[in-house]
């Protein structure tokens, strides 16, 4: 075969395309630099940047499941916010049970309490995801309008359930001793909890990337996002894969709920639907189905929201929507468009 003599051409990806791959990543430092210039004071800038990254990480945790669910099965889940709220309330209850541990001066006991709360929340929301997928989503595969209506219905039911179990009032969710207060670096005060949130978010992102790139189930998810039929023709049950992804995404939303609750320190039954506005913006900016795009989108939204809240509080929410519009004008499919076979 004559063409086999040709050397692998993989290095020859045109410079322009390589740049196009990297460009979205560069947006984050660029935005941070613009923020520094606009804010002027490095100490305030550092505080806001850490706050923005922390917020971005939490949004990423909540959004990552949603974007893969869409990529894999074209399912639009407007009920995703329910998992956020339920996760927060379960976390609240567990932390209340463990009040002895959260009030203890031992950092270890504090963090263990948070960990137990997170695991409980993820377990409950993961199982809730299982029920949600089987009962609500499965009957409406492939029908977008019905999906929107039915998943919104699921969200309302979940909110009412929260009223029944935890009552209609907003609850105060306090951070354990070790996560209260700030670290002072130079003139900048950085809340400890935000650093923890950045750490958890980053670890999760790297873990997710590792799974998607290096495990068979990760390969199946990526292949399934591109061409689910072909994955089935190779002998894999895409529906079962999807169920696993859906449950994982729900559990991650639960994790995000606990973290968001501890961040805001108040939780309400409709906190999920409020945060979902930002989550959807992030998923759209990133490119529906792309985990990396979702991560970058979340960082951008987190930073921009915090910078504008400081510089011009009145336009804070509008600024993230403006960001989405700008990104879509530049790349109509989002930062990292996902290849689709059909």
């Amino acid at each position: 075969m004559s063409e086999t003599a040709i050397k692998p051409r993989i290095e020859k990806i045109p410079l322009k395309e390589q740049l196009a791959q990297k460009l979205p990543v560069l947006l984050v430092p660029v935005l941070a630099a613009v923020g520094l210039i606009a804010i002027g004071n490095p100490a305030s800038w550092l505080t806001l940047t850490v706050a923005g990254l922390a917020m971005g990480m939490m949004i990423f945790i909540m959004a990552s499941g949603l974007t893969v669910v869409f990529g894999l099965m074209d399912v639009i889940n407007f009920g995703h916010g329910a998992f956020v709220a339920v996760g927060a309330f379960v976390g609240f209850t567990v932390l209340a049970w463990l009040a002895g541990w959260t009030a203890s001066p031992s950092v270890f006991m504090n963090l263990t309490a948070v960990l137990v709360a997170i695991l409980a929340a993820m377990l409950v929301t993961g199982l809730l995801g299982l029920a949600f997928e089987r009962v609500i989503v499965m009957p409406v595969y492939g029908e977008h309008l019905k999906q929107i209506l039915v998943t919104m219905g699921g969200l309302i039911v979940a909110q009412q359930m929260i009223y029944v179990v935890w009552g209609p009032d907003e609850l105060h969710m306090s951070r354990p001793e070790a996560l209260q207060g700030s670290l002072v670096i130079g003139e900048a005060a950085i809340e400890k909890y935000r650093l923890v949130a950045v750490g958890i978010g980053l670890a999760l992102f790297l873990g997710m990337r590792h799974i998607l790139k290096n495990t068979k189930i990760g390969l199946l998810v990526r292949a399934g996002v591109e061409n689910g039929e072909m994955v089935e023709a190779l002998g894999y049950r895409v529906r079962r894969l999807f169920l696993i992804v859906f449950m994982t995404g729900s559990a991650l939303a639960g994790l995000g709920g606990v973290m968001w609750g501890l961040y805001q320190e108040t939780i309400t039954a409709h906190m999920g639907s409020e945060i979902m506005v930002l989550v959807f913006i992030v998923v759209i900016i990133g490119g529906l189905g792309s985990v990396e795009g979702c991560f970058i989108g979340a960082m951008l939204v987190g930073l921009l929201a915090n910078y504008t809240a400081f510089l011009a509080p009145k336009v804070a929410l509008i600024s993230t929507i403006a960001l989405m519009v700008a990104v879509l004008m530049w790349r109509p499919q989002g930062l990292y468009p996902v290849v689709k076979a059909k």
């Binding site: 075969m1 004559s2 063409e3 086999t4 050397k7 692998p8 051409r9 993989i10 990806i13 068979k216 390969l219 199946l220 990526r222 292949a223 996002v225 591109e226 061409n227 039929e229 072909m230 994955v231 089935e232 023709a233 190779l234 002998g235 894999y236 049950r237 895409v238 290849v339 076979a341």
Partner: protein
């Protein structure tokens, strides 16, 4: 003639409101190559997709070996030993060549001997092993698609127009590879428009038109019977104009 490995009897397939297959009767003898010919839009791809369970037959039955597979899901059909090389090749372009192959070996790690054989059949598979499959040329993608279908031993391989849009040199390489595959006792159902290629490799032939099989028999008989060829191929020529 050998036993039939696959038999379609009176298969009807609807896609949405359209009635595409209108009673397909097709027998694929074990161990040889059956070629499915027919003009564009005759229903060849739909036939392969229906066998694979990607469309479900609304009427009629599909028997594979001793079992009826008409209502089975695609993964179940695949696990019984049928592989599909789809018309669009179905390459996962976001994955590397290696990753495409790893997924194709659904029953566990790849057999190194088989992989070595495949790399001999299709040298680009080895040469581009760690490259993104999206960067492959059309011919190389086609090779990867066939390679995926044979990385594990299969009883039946459905191949949809493997020479479509390829240069003559690559068509020859693909034909040689399919001939070698044939020697391994794999049964092949091949959709092919290139009659020269089809007749060089086929043992039996079926011709489709308008969602039905309008002729079936031995390939050598069709090759010898110029009048019949003209009648059947003329039909497909007309349709091309």
């Amino acid at each position: 003639m050998a036993e039939n490995l696959l038999t379609l009897s009176g298969v009807h397939t609807h896609i949405g409101p359209y009635h595409i297959l209108q009673g397909v009767d097709l027998a694929v003898p074990e161990g040889g190559v059956t070629v499915l010919l027919g003009r564009n839009g005759a229903g060849k791809t739909t036939t392969l997709r229906t066998i694979m369970g990607l469309w479900t037959a609304s009427q009629g039955g599909i028997r594979f070996g001793d079992h009826v597979i008409t209502k089975l899901s695609t993964p179940e059909i695949s696990r019984r030993g049928i592989a599909l090389v789809p018309e669009d090749m179905g390459i996962f372009t976001d994955l590397t060549v290696a990753e495409n192959m790893i997924l194709a070996a659904a029953n566990g790690p790849m057999d190194p001997k088989r992989l070595a054989w495949i790399k001999e059949l299709f040298p680009p598979i080895g040469n581009f092993w760690n490259s993104s499959a999206g960067t492959l040329s059309g011919g190389q993608k086609q090779m990867l698609s066939v390679a995926r279908a044979i990385i594990e031993p299969r009883r039946l391989i459905l191949i949809d127009e493997p020479t479509k849009g390829l240069a003559p040199a690559i068509i020859k390489a693909m034909t040689d590879a399919l001939k070698e595959l044939k020697e391994t006792d794999t049964t092949i159902l091949l959709v092919e428009q290139n009659f020269a290629m089809a007749s060089s490799i086929g043992d039996t032939v079926a011709v489709m038109d308008d969602g039905r099989i309008i002729h079936s028999g031995r390939m050598d008989e069709l090759v010898a019977d110029v009048a019949l060829q003209e009648k059947l191929m003329g039909l497909s020529l007309e349709a091309h104009q």
